[in-house]
Symmetry: C2
Subunit: 473 residues, 2 copies
């Protein structure tokens, strides 16, 4: 049984989602609503607050509430986008923000989260390194550590590349505010407004947001949950469009968890070299491999400086420190200059702290522990899904990272499921946020980066119930 304000909010939400209240239009004032519905001011306020939480309306200072841009996106007709290449302007941010915002509440069970549990990280040991390093920081490093960044840290990163068998020049490594900034700077380095960029479908929504923000256009290349990026479709796109850059995640891809085989990575680089198209390679999950070896990235086959290999410590060691990097090949000085112009440099204590930890903290030992924990959590989550989800739901078997990609029965609408899940206290990442065309309405991404507590198991059970109800209706 719902409260009065929830009933009111639900009623208005359907009006907005159905597109009957145009986006950008002003919502009625509290006074009008009170009179119209015969309810108290508190009820109207709480209903509006809920609508805002759902991303359907936005408050403007001193002028009331307005219907959010794209609030009715949830109702565009479902489309088959797994095997088509679409090209066009991207409008994804509103949808992504409303989904992220809904999932951010601390009480919500984070099945839809993009982060693993921070309790898997050696935060106390890292804090020790930070405290140690910041006392030793040369005050003049504020000038010296401008891009490309702290040299000690860049040397530590270069050592790891060497251990991986793909040595990179220290001078090509640019330290950034997390991989997200690296990816964005790389995209800026090689495109101008109006250019076409190839992205994965389904793929990481930040790529779509960057494309939208920079007035670029997207060609979506299908990703199979089993075998990864469709290279034939890519070649086709390269032949038909003037593609200026590719932005791909080659290992443990977000959202599917799938990796390209080594042979496909090599073929990818050879193809892009032939077309002279740069690859922005997002490899933030590479260290989280369940097999013994780091899956060699596409960068390992790059002989022309055409691949910009982006990664960070956010998913493996230091969430929140915001330290990432790119080994940017022939684009490194352009990327450095863009970094100088936009955010100047990454936080110097954070860089120095991580450099100290890499040298003295036991990073590889921690990584082994982290990989084991994630692999076990995958087994546990897989078990929970088997126990509680109705038949007809399929999911991937990733060999690294912490994402599962679920295909639901065709009657289920992932956006609707997402809304119901939030109202039941759990989040999930609905398929439509992973494509410019808002496809994948029968898919969701599930996070197994948290230990399977009773609470999380309970939320999987609720998910199962929601799916059963949805299939019946």
């Amino acid at each position: 049984m719902k409260n009065r304000y929830e009933l009111l909010a639900n009623g208005m939400a359907s009006e907005i989602r159905a597109g009957r209240v145009p986006s950008g239009s002003r919502m009625p004032s509290l006074r009008q609503m009170m009179a119209q519905h015969g309810v108290s001011q508190a009820t109207v306020s709480r209903a509006y607050y809920l609508l805002e939480e759902w991303g359907l309306i936005r408050a403007r200072e001193r002028s009331g509430y307005y219907v959010a841009r794209g609030a009715s996106l949830g109702l565009v007709s479902s489309q088959k986008s797994n095997d088509v290449t679409i090209e066009g302007k991207v409008d994804i941010s509103t949808l992504v923000f409303s989904v992220l915002e809904a999932a951010r509440h601390p009480g919500i069970v984070p099945l839809g989260s993009a982060f693993p549990s921070p309790q898997l990280f050696p935060l106390a040991r890292l804090a020790k390194s930070l405290g140690h390093a910041v006392r030793l920081v040369n005050p003049w490093s504020t000038v010296v550590d401008l891009p490309p960044g702290n040299e000690h840290l860049r040397r530590q990163i270069a050592l790891r590349y060497m251990a991986m068998g793909i040595p990179q020049s220290v001078d090509d490594i640019v330290i950034t505010n997390g991989a997200l900034e690296a990816l964005n700077l790389c995209l800026m380095a090689v495109t101008r407004p109006g250019d076409v960029v190839a992205v994965e479908s389904p793929g990481f929504y930040a790529a779509l947001q960057a494309i939208e923000r920079l007035d670029l256009r997207a060609v979506e290349i299908p990703v199979s949950p089993e075998t990864g990026l469709d290279l034939n479709a890519l070649e086709n796109a390269l032949n038909t469009h003037s593609v200026k850059a590719c932005w791909f995640m080659t290992s443990f891809q977000n959202p599917t968890g799938t990796s390209l085989s080594t042979a496909k990575k090599q073929a990818l680089v050879e193809m892009l070299t032939r077309f002279d198209v740069p690859l922005i390679e997002d490899d933030v999950y590479g260290e989280l491999h369940f097999q013994p070896e780091y899956p060699i990235p596409a960068k390992g086959f790059d002989t022309q400086g055409l691949v910009m290999h982006c990664s960070s410590f956010s998913k493996t060691l230091a969430p929140g420190y915001r330290v990432g990097w790119v080994s940017a090949g022939r684009y490194s000085s352009t990327v450095q200059n863009l970094k100088l112009m936009t955010t100047l440099s990454a936080s110097i204590p954070a860089q120095a702290g991580i450099a100290d930890y890499l040298q003295h903290g036991g990073y590889d030992k921690h990584l082994r522990k982290l990989r084991t924990a994630l692999r076990n959590q995958l087994v546990d989550m897989d078990g929970a899904l088997r126990r509680w989800l109705p038949p007809g739901v399929r999911w991937t078997k990733p060999e690294g990272g912490y994402f599962l990609w679920l295909e639901l029965p065709h009657e289920v609408d992932a956006m609707e499921l997402h809304r119901q899940a939030i109202s039941q206290g759990l989040s999930l990442a609905p398929g439509p946020i992973f494509s410019a065309s808002h496809g994948y309405r029968q898919c969701i991404r599930i996070n197994f980066g948290h230990p399977l507590t009773a609470k999380i198991e309970g939320s999987v059970k609720i998910l199962g119930q929601l799916l059963e109800t949805a299939s019946e209706s």
Copy 2:
């Protein structure tokens, strides 16, 4: 008497500066040069190294040296730009980068630096706060402290606004990677490619770089070294152009050190309110006032949420921490979303460390000491300039910050002076980097943010000699 490699470099530099070697063209190989000039490989290498240091050529991995874009800019004819409004595409980055790069060498006396001496900051006390705060950081804050940022820090900043008499809502404050990111995000929030933006002339080169990077166009509004921004010229620009935003520094402006009077700030906001044009207010030097009171920013007169007030701790407390903010009024949710999309969040330990310091570290006491130090350094630098500079040089008398703006005799070319100064081991900031039209060729900016050591006094003496020679020739 010069070395062989310096002679060689000088000869090639004049060719490049005169535009006789087109930018982008490949420089001769080492082998060709050895044969042509009958010199050793070491001589050629060192000459090329010098040319690179001067920003005239750039190395590309495995393919030799190329003439840098804009390397011949130094020779465009001098122009009177102090009283004209120019509008157009901006090409400033190459020039700025070559000047910054030349000044970055640790041995160079930093008269041209944009930073004060890091030894003026309580770095040890701040490190203690950072060490303390990072041990207490809630691991889950990686999710919670996404934009708008660490709440403790935002509350501390809001308290300072309140003490200043211009209370700001905690919800409007967005934490950024230094003020530079805040300014860039604000500009992105209110413009689209092709839009016209009003900037100061002379003004902070980062504004010009941002305009260039985002494909915007600049209208330069003259700044008088005595009275600041010319409001009549601004009104004229607002009437003639469809200006989408203004980016101004209202107190202790970079590079002139000049402030707008309180009455002019109020008139500025009233004018912009009339035209409904947002103001991006860069107030990073506001805390460095020599008068008893914080000079009220334009934001203090803003009743419509039209002013985005940007500042940071980089110039007052924590260089290198990269923590700044904007109180963005009606644009705060747009700015937050742009932050989420581009760099996700500022470094969480750095935010927490500064928040702890603000609460417990004695920030106001430190600021009083810092202001006294800077005021004394201004007196010292003013004295040194009087002792060593030839007659005919005039400079400003700022009431805060750490920049002096010098007008040189008309025979002197600031770009040429800059090159000579670098070769003598001191930097200065030549006027042309502060305008889209590369004007102010008779002006330089001098930094008094460092205590006047014998070495700095010596460099002022050298500057005087260079000026005398230049005036004679």
